[in-house]
């Protein structure tokens, strides 16, 4: 059995996954840093030759982002305002080199607590489509990511696509770090909302790097309904789902404070135009 496979069709890829243990690799931007310079016995299933998986397409009920779509592809795609936050995030992942190679799907599967894509996709109410030789299944993203570096992906499965329902609305993203580029977040916030007559009619808010996994804030989302984005009220109890830790980037207390401030700013920015809007 070869330890590197780069199949040209999905059936071969899924067959290989069913037959032996492989590490599925797309952009490889998380794969190589994890093996560092050490030797690895892991088999690599390079999926970048699979056809028709790079597209970002509109379907009757929503959008489908193929598992090979890169961060740069997201930025370059003409997408409605609901994706503005995702585009903002895409431009802040690593450097351009990473954005050109790394995929949104890989970011999800890597399941870092500081994954930039996860809060955005939670705010967009995304689901993941998983495929194996046995068939396909769809999971809500929140159910897919189970913990730091832990997902519901089975050994014989790969993430085929992300599905985002068509809800309209607009989204924004804010990321906080201690330098201008190549930032791994201290905290980050994604907000999706539907505005009616200048007030929030519906909202989804997710916070990243403030707990083992990115987290929605349902109480806050509910309380925002009817409020103006520029004057939104955030109560301490709205943030109870956050579980920030002390690490090399910041202490937990600061993270909690910063998350609240970022949430306020991200909500406020819903009313200002995004330079990344398509």
């Amino acid at each position: 059995m070869d330890s590197y496979l780069r199949p040209a069709d999905l059936a071969t890829a899924l067959h290989a996954l069913g037959a032996a243990r492989f590490r599925v690799v797309a952009g490889a931007t998380d794969y190589y840093p994890q093996i560092a310079s050490a030797r690895t016995d892991e088999r690599m299933l390079d999926i970048t030759a699979l056809p028709d998986l790079r597209g970002i397409e509109r379907h009757p009920t929503g959008w489908r982002i193929g598992c090979l779509a890169t961060w740069s592809d997201v930025v370059a795609s003409p997408l409605p305002p609901a994706f503005d936050g995702l585009k903002q995030a895409a431009r802040q992942v690593g450097g351009r080199q990473i954005q050109n190679a790394g995929t949104l799907a890989g970011n999800i599967c890597n399941a870092s607590p500081a994954a930039d894509g996860v809060p955005c996709l939670l705010a967009l109410d995304a689901s993941v489509e998983l495929a194996s030789a046995r068939g396909r299944r769809i999971l809500k993203l929140a159910d897919f990511i189970q913990g730091p570096r832990r997902t519901a992906l089975r050994p014989d499965e790969m993430l085929l696509a992300l599905h985002i329902p068509e809800h309209g609305g607009v989204s924004r993203f804010e990321k906080l770090g201690a330098r201008a580029y190549l930032v791994i977040s201290i905290a980050m916030v994604a907000v999706w909302a539907k505005l009616e007559a200048g007030r929030i009619a519906e909202a989804r808010i997710a916070v990243g790097a403030c707990g083992p996994v990115a987290t929605r804030l349902p109480e806050l989302e509910a309380s925002l309904i009817g409020q103006e984005p520029t004057h939104a009220t955030i109560e301490p109890h709205h943030l109870t789902p956050l579980r920030p830790i002390d690490d090399v980037r910041a202490p937990a207390t600061y993270r909690r404070h910063a998350a609240e401030e970022l949430i306020r700013r991200t909500i406020t920015s819903l009313t200002t135009s995004s330079e990344l809007a398509a």
């Binding site: 310079s37 330098r179 090399v248 600061y254």
Partner: protein, 895 residues
């Protein structure tokens, strides 16, 4: 279990390429190792630094994150593909013209990222350049000249070279610049033996403090084909002790049953690279007894980790003048402060690398280093060989900043090559480099200062504890240099400045651009601001009243001679300082949001060369039988440009156009000892030696003819009758210079340096008072450089020093075992360095060649205090725990 290699074909730099390679291998490795294209550099193997950036189908990607298998049929461009038929591209030429390449290790990555951008946006904005190059780290340039170059990548008439005698002061393009932009420069990891070689891996302690016993390695050797040898302390042929200072050598090539920091070397594995990678580290027979860790806060109360350092105090430094208690008592204004700083990592983009080979009864080491002659002498002791049996051949250095002054890869490479009689190569990983090499000393400083009602300083008291980590390294240098500089570049009649270098189980703290002076300046400059505030004086005004100038006495009792130009530096930045203060105040008055701006100012001084110690340099210039002029320079150019500076000085001294002066650099067999590249000494010390050598050669020629005439760039003189010496010269001039200093007495009184550089910098910052983030918006830097031998290079040093000072102030803190990579250890990116306005003050120093003095370290010292002062101006709080990370700034705001 790896795939068998397969054939992979692609287009490389416009031509078809075929490799037979494991498709899972990193493309960077295949480009470098299989195709010999070493222009693509490896800085981290993790996508954190961008040094390996290439174009894949025209888009920038990291070659280190690209499986080779997926490039089949695609198009790859590397730095080697930018020039056409030997002609540099407009972008490459712009990099040379703007001085955008210093050490050159990030340059290929920068060029490739910029090429991607320029193919889409031929006339990019600054913001576009920053976005496109944001993924490539540079530690030398401060990025501003890179931005300028990318925005000016268009045809440009070629520069007219300076005429004879006019090289000094000319913005000469770096004499070794071309190789740094076309990918041909050979750095540590690019140099290969010309015969098959083995690899060396070092097994290091996972514990900060422990005893260990080694088991039997025969089973490991037997079970690991390709593992040739396991080296332990008993294999060291000479003495298993090394260190910077002749007495107190305390570091072991391989530990002898006892380790003092995470990263102490305990074993070396020699063999085939693949075999070494396959060795299961966890299965090696090593038994550990972990000991309690000695940390900085409590070290002096714990058992000594070195017998010769009771209470873990390695050494102390002291300076006293006047009566500090009386000076404090008589004052109108009095301020005190406590400052804490942490480990700072050099974070050069080139991890240490090199190879050694045995040549008969001699050993040769080819590696990146800042100090070939000290390496040679130290290696002779370790090898048990005479100095003449050791040859050190420095490669290009991909950033040093003091971090490549200590031996690192050299001893084990030499020992293993000696014992196996095979060439041995070692390329250190980013993680190992960060874990085990030296750092900037953490400091804990308490200081107080006082001034009279007229705003004149009356007293300054300072004590700094410096965490020198597990080994002495350059700790004594820090302990001695800091007391001289601690009171700042001011007239202080009464001072008491003391230091202690304290051992802990941290990484060894060594040399890092400034030797403790940057940490001291953070405390001292804060006191100047505090005194000014108490007296109702502007911070600039207070400094100007106290600034040291010509004829003033320093706290060590030295009278400053001609060229000491701090008052002029302060006057030079005053107009911009006033404008920025007004701008900041207007901004704040108009703000309703969380942003506040502030302007800070800081001054610095820096003694050039070693503190009260001999540090001679020798240079030689000769004429070969064919009339070719050659400079033999042992001064290692670590990116700062000493090759160019030495050429300019030497050419003018001889009286020939600099373009006709060839150069042989830094090979201990071929060049005289120019000492180390540190202490900002090369321009002044080696520059003087080069000037003396050039003058001597000129005299030698003029003994024979009335004028020096050249034909086709060669000396037009019949040289055929002259004997040829060992260096291949028929005519020569030699120069030796050792800066005249005197020993310091018990009160630190004397002449520690021949010359001082001065500077005043101011910084405009914007603080987000809700998040605690700080963004520098502008830096104004006036530097007293005596004479700018090459203004482009001087500006480059200032920019780069400012970038490191900004990192020190705002983001850099190395935590052993936790930040051993370039994404958790943050250095400034291209978006973090604001526009820098540089003002060069050129009042010739009579002790410098053509009046020149150093600028390498002076560039950095003032920046952090200026930024911290700016934060205080913006928010009314002084950050004293450095770096001023967002959480610390926010905490200061809420107090």
């Amino acid at each position: 279990m790896r795939a068998n290699a397969i054939a992979i074909g692609f287009t490389l730099n416009g031509k078809p390429a075929d490799v037979h390679a494991d498709p899972a291998r990193r493309l960077s490795d295949v480009l470098r190792d299989d195709l010999g294209l070493t222009g693509t550099k490896i800085g981290c193997n993790a996508g954190d630094c961008g040094a390996c950036t290439i174009l894949l189908d025209g888009e920038q990607v990291c070659a280190c994150l690209t499986p080779t298998g997926r490039v089949a049929g695609r198009t790859i461009t590397t730095v080697e593909g930018l020039a056409h038929n030997g002609t540099l591209s407009n972008l490459q030429s712009a990099f040379l013209r703007h001085g955008a390449a210093q050490c050159g290790i990030c340059t290929p990555g920068m060029l490739m990222a910029a090429s991607d951008l320029l193919s889409r946006a031929p006339s990019p904005t600054e913001a576009q350049v920053q976005d496109a190059l944001g993924g490539v780290l540079c530690r030398c340039t401060g990025y501003r000249k890179i931005i300028d170059a990318v925005m000016d990548a268009r045809p440009h008439p070629s520069a007219i070279p300076p005429a004879a005698g006019e090289a000094v002061g000319h913005r000469l393009t770096r004499v070794d610049g071309r190789a740094r932009v076309d990918g041909s420069e050979i750095f540590g990891a690019d140099a290969l033996p010309d015969t098959p070689f083995l690899s060396l891996h070092v097994i290091r302690s996972p514990h900060a403090h422990a005893r260990f016993t080694l088991g039997d390695f025969e089973p490991v050797l037997a079970a690991t084909p390709g593992l040739t040898r396991v080296l332990t302390a008993s294999d060291i042929p000479g003495q298993n002790r090394y260190g910077i200072y002749p007495e107190g050598k305390d570091q072991m090539v391989l530990a002898e049953g006892y380790v003092r920091h995470k990263g102490d070397p305990i074993l070396a594995l020699v063999g085939d690279e693949d075999a070494l990678l396959a060795v299961d580290r966890k299965a090696l027979p090593i038994d550990w007894e972990v000991l309690p860790t000695v940390d900085f806060a409590t070290a002096t109360g714990q058992d000594a980790i070195h017998e010769h350092a009771p209470n873990n105090i390695l050494c102390r430094g002291r300076l006293a003048c006047g009566d500090v208690d009386a000076g404090l008592a008589q004052a109108t204004a009095h301020a005190s402060i406590t400052v804490r700083t942490g480990f700072v990592e050099h974070a050069y983009i080139e991890p240490e690398a090199g190879f050694a080979r045995r040549v008969g009864d001699r050993i040769e080491i080819t590696a990146c280093t800042q100090t070939p002659y000290m390496d040679r002498d130290e290696l002779a002791l370790i090898m048990g060989l005479p100095k003449t049996s050791v040859r050190v051949i420095p490669t290009a250095v991909g950033g040093g900043f003091g971090g490549k002054l200590d031996l690192f890869v050299q001893p084990l490479l030499c020992i293993s090559a000696w014992l196996t009689n095979r060439p041995i190569r070692m390329v250190v990983t980013r993680a190992e480099s960060m874990l085990a090499t030296t750092k900037r000393h953490p400091s804990h400083i308490t200081a107080e200062a006082a001034a009279d009602a007229q705003g004149h300083l009356t007293a300054f008291r300072f004590h700094g504890d410096f965490d020198t980590g597990a080994y002495a390294s350059w700790g004594p240098t820090v302990a001695n240099r800091v007391p001289v500089h601690a009171s700042g570049p001011y007239r202080v009649p009464n001072a008491l400045c003391t230091t202690a270098a304290i051992h802990t189980n941290g990484p060894p703290s060594g040399a890092f651009r400034g030797f403790g002076v940057p940490q001291a300046a953070i405390a001292g400059e804060a006191l100047m601001d505090a005194l000014a505030a108490q007296l109702g004086l502007d911070p600039w005004e207070f400094r100007r009243r106290n600034a040291l100038g010509v004829g003033d006495a320093t706290t060590s009792g030295q009278i400053l001679g001609a060229g000491a130009s701090l008052p002029e530096c302060l006057d030079a930045i005053k107009p911009r300082y006033d404008e920025l203060r007004a701008e900041a105040e207007a901004f704040n008055a108009a703000q309703s949001g969380p942003h506040r701006r502030g302007v800070g100012i800081a001054c610095m001084w820096y003694g050039i060369g070693n503190t009260s110690m001999s540090n001679p340099s020798q240079m030689a210039i000769g004429v070969r039988p064919d009339g070719q002029f050659v400079l033999l320079s042992g001064a290692v150019d670590i990116g700062q440009g000493s090759n160019t500076v030495m050429s300019q000085i030497a050419a003018d001294a001889v009286g020939i156009p600099v373009e006709h002066l060839a150069m042989t650099t830094g090979d201990t067999d071929l060049t005289p000892d120019a000492g180390k590249t540190s202490a900002s000494r090369q321009t002044l010390v080696s520059g003087n030696a080069a000037h003396l050598a050039g003058t001597a050669l000129r005299a030698e020629i003029l003994r024979r003819v009335n004028t020096i005439e050249l034909q086709d760039g060669k000396l037009a003189l019949d040289l055929s009758s002259l004997p040829i010496d060992a260096d291949g010269f028929v005519l020569r001039g030699d120069g030796t210079y050792d800066p005249p200093t005197t020993p310091l007495d018990a009160d630190g009184q004397g002449v520690p340096y021949v010359s001082y550089a001065f500077a005043a910098q101011c910084a405009l910052v914007e603080v987000d008072t809700s998040l605690g983030t700080v963004k520098a918006l502008r830096i104004i830097a006036a530097h007293d450089v005596g004479r700018a031998v090459n203004p482009d290079l001087v500006e480059g040093q200032i920019h780069g020093g400012i970038a490191q000072g900004l990192g020190l102030a705002l983001m850099e803190e190395y935590l052993p075992g936790r930040t051993d990579n370039l994404h958790d250890y943050l250095i400034p990116t291209i978006g973090d360095i604001p526009p820098i306005e540089t003002i060069l003050i050129e009042h010739a120093d009579p002790n410098g060649p053509y009046g020149a003095k150093g600028v390498g370290e002076p560039a950095l010292v003032a920046t952090a205090p200026a930024i911290l002062g700016a934060i205080e101006h913006a928010i009314g709080a002084r950050i004293t725990h450095i770096p001023a990370t967002p959480d610390r700034v926010l905490a200061a705001l809420s107090q």
